[in-house]
Symmetry: C2
Subunit: 161 residues, 2 copies
């Protein structure tokens, strides 16, 4: 299966990127869509949130490990499909971000957790009811006490602490 870039994601992250989108991170975050696809944006600006789908081009492991140990959870080992690690059999990344405004072919967003110049694969609207699952849980990220909870939430949100 062959996919091709339909645009480029610009972020301030040149050598380091957060694990998750940091909503209010400094710098500009935008998606530059190839001009030939501009008509496809019609109606998108009415959505508060969008899915950004991209190619994780900085990882090129031919055979990624099936188990990973997240650095911030003591000794827990989880499968790659139970994690958001970028080293996956198919390096497809998905982020949900706020859409601030669209100017012609440029989409300005809240913080995106990808390296600068990451190739864009797709954009989809994030739709209330369909995508916001109220009964979702934290899986193996469950918290034992309130201190854990606050600490892990900072990790989940990619906030420095």
């Amino acid at each position: 299966m062959q996919f091709h870039a339909i645009g480029t994601i610009r972020t301030p992250y040149l050598t380091n990127a957060p694990y998750q989108p940091v909503k209010e991170d400094k710098g500009e975050f935008n998606i530059i869509l190839d001009n030939k696809f501009v008509a496809g944006l019609q109606g998108l600006s009415k959505f508060h949130y969008i899915y950004v789908i991209y190619y994780l081009d900085r990882v090129s492991l031919k055979s990624p490990a099936m188990l990973i140990t997240p650095p911030w959870v003591d000794g827990v080992e989880v499968g790659i499909f139970a994690s958001r690690s970028p080293d996956r059999p198919n390096p497809i990344g998905i982020s949900i971000v706020e859409l601030k405004r669209i100017e012609h072919n440029i989409l300005y967003t809240s913080g995106l957790d990808v390296f600068d110049k990451t190739p864009l694969l797709d954009i989809k609207p994030y739709i209330q009811d369909l995508d916001a699952k109220q009964k979702a849980n934290y899986g193996w990220l469950e918290f034992n006490n309130r201190e854990d909870r606050e600490h892990l939430q900072l990790h989940i949100k990619g906030l420095p602490h």
Copy 2:
């Protein structure tokens, strides 16, 4: 960019599939992961919901239209990136479903809105806080009155009516 199937999605939909996942649809829905990736499932069963990412292999439009007219909204024309239509520049599909149980390399899920034998690209955990956006809206799908609202919600949820 080249991606490869890491498994196959089995559904009862041979000639027609709903627009969105139908949670309690009849028939069996499961994902058969290639055996060599089984270790990557460790810890996944603790999540209530998962993202299923797949290749929309029944569409093969080289140049999909940038504007579409959803059949169930009178005369509204929206861009492809403001819709979930499968005819996209990169035919990548994403569905969020309930994970019921995992038996070795088979994941049993709630209704998946894809054709039988759709190629699987990735599985990711759906994480509360990170993925369930309380402030999400309906974008151009906004409802004018309660009757519209109920009708459109049936469409969004892919329920027959």
